[in-house]
Symmetry: C2
Subunit: 229 residues, 2 copies
């Protein structure tokens, strides 16, 4: 079984396309974020709350991946920004080729912020670079404090972790400090944000993080800021 | 890229080993269940509550899969039954070869019930037959009612779905009836069980389900009960 070499070939082809996408995003000053999480962490709700507060001048656009259904695209398309569903037909992650194809339908001049919602899966998406500036991992507090240790690749590769559904903290046995400590033990520099899309708690902090990321990527600074992986 | 044919080759090799395992389990009257869920659905807690109530005569044994860490094996080994951790070193699912290897360390004469806790992933494990009598999907009510529609393969292939963390229902926006309806729309015959490992709600129903599954698999009936997939 020559599975491992083939997997390497698939990944290196993916990396090649991702590098082209990253170059294109950098040249155009597009900030691209790749959101990764388990099913049901609240990624789509977080993106809804994010889009609802963005001005048209942000020129946001959303690609949302799912194995089946276009529920998320329908939810996300209410906010006046372009949204495309990528249905992976069984694949457990988005890959760079899917992003490249989807972007072919859009005029990139009209995009300043590209938000990619990956397939709900805390494992496989971490292996597929999409040309993003940063991965953001979303973890519901209902999932348990051990998840950074059990899924280290995703946490290691993410610039930030969002502890979401923080309003459920009184009802679940999660030790939030231990969860943060576990995230930092896998990735010491990871930025940590707490949010609840139900109560709105922490969304201001998340929006400030996003605003800083956008201004760090403005066309002025292209060339001076190395693309983070 | 000959990825799809290769994936087929990997799956058909997996199916070959799984068929041998199923034959072996059937010959020995071992009931084998394959538990699949997202990260953080409460699979390990459910298995803890299950093991705590099983008599030694059940001759239970547990294989628990994780990408990294042996936390779950440590949690599960407190109940007096043999437990083995299978660390997949990056793979996002268990496969039949991993099960075959792990079972090599045990005397199968001393096993009557084999509980397999798959890697936390609602996508990929559904593609890998482990020789089990039945898959059981565990869904936390915090994950949202749309999950059966978004991850249909897992729900279609599972004999039962356990809606877990049912004690959190008052605090989350889940429409439980719609969630059940979605599960049935993907798999009309799926059995539905509601549990909370915190309050103990529904664990009696789950234990009765398990007792019925065990008695349906007793050595007496081998040959008369076709192995369900």
């Amino acid at each position: 079984m020559d599975r491992v070499p083939l997997q390497r070939k698939v990944l290196s082809e993916n990396d090649r396309i991702a590098a082209l996408l990253r170059e294109e995003f950098s040249r155009r000053g597009i900030l691209c974020l790749n959101f990764i999480s388990s099913p049901g962490s609240g990624k789509t709700s977080l993106l809804e709350r994010t889009l609802a507060a963005l001005p048209p001048s942000s020129r946001a656009a959303v690609l949302t991946g799912d194995i089946q259904t276009d529920n998320d695209a329908r939810r996300l398309s209410r906010y006046g920004f372009p949204v495309q569903q990528i249905t992976t037909a069984g694949a457990c992650h988005l890959d760079a080729r899917m992003i490249e194809r989807a972007l072919g339908a859009w005029n990139l001049d009209s995009i300043g912020l590209l938000l990619i919602e990956n397939v709900g899966n805390l494992v496989c998406p971490a292996s597929y670079d999409l040309g993003e500036d940063a991965k953001v991992v979303v973890l519901s507090v209902t999932e348990g404090e051990d998840k950074p240790l059990k899924y280290p690749a995703t946490f290691f590769k993410s610039r930030a972790v969002i502890f979401n559904k923080i309003d459920l903290l009184p009802y679940v046995p999660l030790d939030l400090e231990l969860a943060k400590q576990n995230a930092r033990s896998v990735h010491p520099g990871i930025e940590i944000i707490e949010t609840s899309c139900t109560t709105g708690h922490g969304l201001d902090v998340w929006r400030s993080w996003l605003a800083r990321a956008i201004s760090g990527k403005s066309p002025r600074s292209v060339g001076s800021v190395p693309a983070a992986r």
